[in-house]
Amino acid sequence: MTTVRHAPPAVPRPAFDAERVRRDFPLLQNTVRGKPLVYLDNAATSQKPRAVIARTEQYYATENANVHRGVYELSERATAAYEEAREKARGFLNAASAREIVFVRGTTEAINLVASSFGRRELQPGDEVLITAMEHHSNIVPWQLICGERGAMLRVVPMNKRGELLMDEFARLLGPKTKLVAVAHVSNSLGTINPIAEIVQQAHARDVPVLVDGAQAAPHQPIDVRGLGVDFYTVSGHKMFGPTGIGLLYGTAERLEALPPYQGGGDMIKTVTFAKTTYADPPARFEAGTPNIAGAVGLGAAIDYLQALDWEAIRTHEADLLAYATDRLSSVSGVELVGTAAHKASVVSFTVQGVHAHDVGTIVDQEGVAIRTGHHCTQPVMDFFGVPATARASFAFYNTRADVDALVSAVRKVAQVFA
């Protein structure tokens, strides 16, 4: 008699203890439709650790006042908490100075801010802004709006069928009329990690500034804006385990200094008369009105939480999830992956032959599995791949192989329903 011994899995088992960190996230303990929640829509928004929820509550319970205004103790406390969060954000992004960190509502507002302020100052008729074929609508539409106003042109770097940028096309499109390059660090619908350092190097060789949309990168790795050499970098707090309605715009001191204000109001001025107003220095120049103080403080707590984690171990863990999910989903008959770049974050977009993504979403939801279905605010990407929509599972460090198994088993039910 022969004993068949199964070979151990090809991918080494991760050392990261996802089961332990899951306990830090109250929402992950919930059930939906009578089943344990399997949350795989992290690219849309992430869940929050208890530390973030508690810090936000503590702020409202003990520190709430308006910032940069009152001379009283409580206002000082609120201002200190707000500015402390800015310093934490500086550390997270490895910026040179906290003055290079602007609090915004999120990546969308950050990009709109740069498009509006930079565009009004720098773009002339015939100038070009260079984006890529895999951008989120929030890194397309603001540029279309300002290009339309200024008579400038939007140019688009194409990609291949794996969802990788064509870098020779990038080099070709980067021309004397290019005034700015705006590119995603990580694609939200394909997972592709773009070669930012190379893009920056080529753009800077022509004195062209680069804005990087880091919304999908920040949840997966510590960011080093100085190492990347970017001029602008944007993140959304809620995608990196912080609150909604808060995000960061990083700009080098030199770049921010050169930008005119975005919105006018309180807190962004030096002096106001009816004849003339002089504006505050960055970052205050770009933070008109009472900011999202509690959001900033909560984001600071999220950054503290993230910085206490072992990111080398997380890198291995997420690579394992990606490889495992790719392998297991590919084994399901009729499933086709969309976005197969060599360098990917833990995002898996897929279609099921003959079944619309929304039907896939409804069916897996019945098993407690939450995934995103639709165009993911990247309609040009869907057009490029010739699909109306995809289903997308996006993983965070608190996901496990068991989550992948639940997803795959739920996706197998799709074929049963449509048999």
Binding site: R33, D359, T362, H375, V417
Partner: protein, 150 residues
């Protein structure tokens, strides 16, 4: 609890697989377009009216099984009906889709369309089922604006 088999009844799955009247008309007298841009469902509906009666009807488009099956079932249900009869069917379907789960609905007028009754247990999918019906009404009322149920 909502059950998948209520939503994806056999008749829905079958109409999605082989939609009826998925065609362009040679002589349409009315047409309308419906789209739910967030969700991606799109439908173009063409109607050939003879007097007040729907002589022929065809649809084209793409979307989820619920929207496609609903459009297919619609074309079968209103063929040969007068405009008023079609409007009355619209109201009955609308009432069925929007009545709260658990409340009994009158499906006597509905025939095969009763297969859409399970949709109301899935509130986010109601807009998929109702899109073809709102598009039909727009065609009959010659509304120029594209229709949406989002």
């Amino acid at each position: 609890m909502a059950d998948l088999t209520d939503l994806y009844q056999q008749i829905i799955v079958e109409h999605n697989r082989a939609p009826r009247n998925f065609k362009k008309l040679a002589h349409p007298t009315r047409d309308a377009e419906g789209a739910n841009p967030l969700c991606g469902d799109e439908i173009k509906l063409e109607v050939e009216l003879e007097g007040d009666r729907i002589k022929d009807i065809g649809f084209q488009g793409s979307g989820c099984a619920i929207s496609q099956a609903s459009a297919s079932l619609l074309t079968g249900a209103v063929q040969g009906k007068t405009k008023d009869e079609a409007q009355s069917l619209f109201r009955a379907v609308h009432a069925m889709l929007t009545s709260p789960p658990g409340v009994p609905v009158d499906t006597t007028q509905l025939g095969k369309l009763a297969a859409l009754s399970g949709v109301r247990q899935f509130p986010v999918r109601v807009k998929c089922a109702s899109l073809p019906w709102h598009t039909l009404r727009a065609a009959l009322e010659s509304t120029a604006e594209p229709v949406t149920t989002e």
